[in-house]
């Protein structure tokens, strides 16, 4: 037996040049994947809120906080994986299906740099895969009047700025929680805050963990030192509502960005157009820009 694919497109070579059929079909389902991740995260957050409201105790609250953390991290990794895949000109599918933690680190490190840039969001490398194109590309489009090109560029800028803002909590999340998130999926080497502090305390490691005054957990990660011997790194995760709600926001933002990125790419590949600008923020343009854009859309 074998699997066959039946995705139609007018230009086979174009699909191949944009990453191939595997990537195209995967991107086409990005909206459903985003919806599922969002629902999973919402369910976990609901369980956490319930435990908090009925004073389920620190163990229950922290366990569920870590579930929120994990489900948010899955959405963040989905986004990071596609950004990593599209960051180079070739091997998109291979890159997507073999992404590792250091590569996600690179993606979010680059996004962090983009957040510090003062220029237009559309110039940021992280925003480039969203297929908004450059101002020059839009101005060079045949059949577009200057007013229409100007309106299209303004709309593209609105989207680019929106996506750049959306990625901010995602980058924060990755920087703060990557180690803990990974641990929840790899054997759960985590000590409950109450058992860390005791009494009795968890031995010498407790000496390095001040009580944050809120429920918390500590992730242990042991590795070999270059000079020999072992080293256990401790990462404290606060499990209070502000921290968990921030995890939830980051996961939702990541799922939304992932959906937009996948659908922008899929529509762009499907239409054979390198530049795609969503029209759903049209009403935020000036009246004259809206008129110019509507003329183009109606045609």
């Amino acid at each position: 037996m074998q699997f066959g694919f039946r995705v139609s497109h007018h230009d086979h070579d174009y699909v191949e040049s944009r990453g191939g059929w595997e990537l195209y079909t995967h991107l086409r389902a990005g909206g459903k994947r985003s919806t599922f991740r969002r629902h999973s995260l919402t369910r976990a957050t609901g369980l956490y809120r319930l435990a908090w409201a009925r004073d389920g105790g620190d163990f229950e609250r922290c366990g569920l906080a870590l579930l929120v953390l994990q489900r948010a991290a899955l959405a963040v990794e989905d986004l990071g994986g596609v950004l990593h895949a599209l960051a180079e000109e070739t091997d998109h599918w291979k890159r997507l299906t073999s992404t590792r933690i250091p590569e996600l680190d690179s993606v979010f490190s680059e996004a962090r740099q983009d957040l510090g840039l003062s220029g237009p969001a559309r110039d940021c490398p992280t925003i480039a895969p969203f297929c908004l194109g450059t101002a020059e590309q839009i101005e060079g489009e045949p059949g577009w009047s200057p007013a229409q090109s100007g309106a299209a560029n303004a709309l593209a800028d609105l989207w680019a700025e929106r996506w750049r803002k959306q990625i901010c909590p995602v980058v924060d999340f990755w920087e703060k929680h990557r180690s803990a998130a990974k641990s929840t999926m790899h054997g759960y080497p985590i000590i409950a805050g109450r058992h860390m502090l005791g009494p009795p305390p968890a031995g010498p490691m407790a000496e390095h963990i001040p009580d944050p005054g809120v429920p918390f957990a500590v992730v242990l990660s042991t590795s070999q030192k270059a000079a020999g011997g072992l080293r256990t790194e401790l990462t404290r995760v606060r499990c209070d509502p502000p921290t968990v709600e921030a995890m939830n926001r980051a996961g939702r933002a990541a799922a939304d960005l992932y959906r937009d990125l996948c659908l922008q790419q899929a529509r762009s590949i499907g239409a054979g157009c390198a530049v795609m600008i969503p029209t759903s923020m049209l009403e935020r343009l000036s009246p004259s820009q809206q008129t110019a854009m509507r003329e183009k859309i109606d045609k």
Partner: protein
């Protein structure tokens, strides 16, 4: 008969045992309940998804359920470390060392494990420089020969049942590990609108796989697909084994935490006294049919309680 463990043979209570106890207590009090809640939520999410007219969403929910289930199998592989020599405590350092091949190596290596090594995982045997000893030998508790023989039977029956469970889990890991990776790293399920199953000549077949995912780190285009079970069958199958894995973790935590009771610590974590251990709280997990009536009688005589058995005869 001393019942007094040799303190010189122990790992350092402050540096090794206290972190290990904290780790095990955390699994008991926080990790296992959270994993159970997550699994129940994934089951409920999948059941909800079955009612939606969207097979792709149901696939993702099934993948999510497989993810929650197999995480418990991975937890088991992490915690099931060999105890330090001379003491049935956990080796928390080994449990917190991550390696991408750790879980697969654990399950693949089960076939080569002796009864001694299986029982060491659950704290019923302790490694020494010259092999493995049982708990009554560790604590130098004198017992009648027929009691020792009954304990051996119970240990062997426990090893037999554990081996059966662990082999079943190894099979699940082998069958669904690729789906678990696909879930964690990108949600790589296939879009049902875009693919079909074909015979070797390319002719489309009227077959609907339970779930298909792209394989991670394989040749371009490689797909894993399940043809024999319905999505609900897959969900039930992995769920059943996740509960077995959870029960095994609970068992390991219970058996290894009994050594907590040997020590009294002050609030700063300093050992203030070590107790003699004349009564070992043995916890066996076995099928009644695997132990002779005479052995059960002997074990009951030393205070081991045999509750009513589970439907499969395990206790």
């Amino acid at each position: 008969m001393t019942g007094k463990p040799d303190i010189n043979a122990f790992p350092d209570p402050y540096r090794v045992l206290l972190p290990s106890f904290a780790y095990l207590r955390s699994i008991r009090d926080q990790t296992l309940p959270a994993r159970a809640t997550a699994l129940e939520d994934a089951i409920s999410h999948f059941t909800d998804a079955e009612d939606r007219d969207d097979a792709d969403y149901r696939d993702l929910a099934l993948l999510g359920l497989i993810g929650e289930a197999l995480q418990i199998l991975e937890d088991l592989a992490a915690i099931a470390t060999e105890p330090p020599k001379g003491f049935p405590a956990p080796n928390y350092v080994a449990a917190t060392m991550y390696s991408p091949s750790k879980t697969t190596s654990f399950y693949q290596g089960l076939k080569k494990r002796s009864d001694d090594r299986i029982l060491a995982l659950v704290g019923l045997r302790v490694p020494t420089d010259s092999g493995y000893i049982s708990l009554h030998e560790l604590f130098q508790i004198a017992l009648a020969e027929d009691t020792i023989e009954a304990l051996r039977e119970a240990e062997h029956a426990t090893a037999t049942l554990l081996r059966q469970h662990l082999f079943a889990l190894a099979s699940i890991w082998d069958d669904f590990g690729g789906y678990f990776n696909a879930f964690k790293h990108g949600g790589l399920s296939l879009n049902r609108d875009d693919y079909f199953v074909a015979d070797d000549k390319g002719a489309e077949l009227d077959i609907s796989p339970s779930l298909t995912v792209w394989a991670r780190r394989k040749d371009q285009g490689m797909v894993l697909g399940g043809m024999n079970l319905s999505p609900r069958d897959v969900a039930d199958h992995v769920t059943k084994h996740a509960w077995i894995a959870r029960a095994l973790i609970e068992y390991i935590v219970t058996t290894r935490l009994f050594t907590e009771g040997l020590f009294e610590f002050d609030d700063a974590g300093t050992v203030t006294s070590i107790k003699s251990q004349h009564h070992i709280p043995w916890v066996f997990w076995l099928k009644r049919a695997d132990v002779s009536p005479a052995a059960i009688e002997r074990l009951e005589a030393i205070g081991i309680v045999f509750p009513d058995g589970a439907p499969d005869g395990s206790l």
